[in-house]
Symmetry: C2
Subunit: 138 residues, 2 copies
Amino acid sequence: MFSIGQLSKQTGVKVPTIRYYEQVGLLVSAGRTEGNQRRYDKDGLERLGFIRHARDLGFSIEAITALIDLQQHPDRSCQQATEIAQHQLTDVREKLLRLKALETELVRIADGCDGEGNSDNCYVLASLADHQHCRGEH
Amino acid sequence: MFSIGQLSKQTGVKVPTIRYYEQVGLLVSAGRTEGNQRRYDKDGLERLGFIRHARDLGFSIEAITALIDLQQHPDRSCQQATEIAQHQLTDVREKLLRLKALETELVRIADGCDGEGNSDNCYVLASLADHQHCRGEH
DNA sequence: CTTGAAGCTCTAGTCACTAGAGGTTGTAGA
DNA sequence: TCTACAACCTCTAGTGACTAGAGCTTCAAG
């Protein structure tokens, strides 16, 4: 049996975050000692590991809730889990595209200036003021 | 002179967002009609355009406040503006790296499953449960 | 002069935590 | 067995950048 602090150390999830996960229903309410402190078993450890991993991969709390739900109903099709993962992948790819465009634009802006003028003729400020300067869309 | 709605249409920034920008000090308080409605001139339009563009590039409100501050003090060095932009670029590049790693991992997870099993032997769920499956770090 | 779209302020909600106050419990050492 | 104190508890509020809604007022066209 682990205390919340031990669970925290083993998973790398902060103590208040674990309590938060319980509050929003991601983690099932833990058992308590007589003095009302949470105690976890191996099962709780694994569940939190799952959540941690999924959060690291950018899944929303909502998506993780759905995944855990699927886990607990082995009769349901695995297809739904795959769909959630595919959706997350699409999401990540969209963000990647957007960030790549931002990078291009920022390189143009940030490297276009030698930093030696004053802000009256600053290339950075001028670029931000005038969208026309941009090559791409955003 | 524009109303807040006209300003919104011209810049693509939503009306409540314009009010929010004023509230947090990003936009100087607009002049008002006798009936207390905001009125903007060309200057306000340009300032909002600047903010919009910078937000689109992912600059924080704080960073934009600093940039506007620099704009209003033409005696100050342009170097600070360049530094802010460089910082933003570094930030974007970090996010890009992270997202690329996520993409790789998600491709492995989401495409590794044919979606035809049940959640008992689902590759997606197994991968999320066990960090060992991962090739990279995250 | 009427009507209704657009404006106003203020409060609260979003997501996923994080911080802090103020009190209680568990456990190691004396 | 006692004591000290780290770790725990609950509750509220704050973060960033908005967004939504209630309830009211003003503007401008017909």
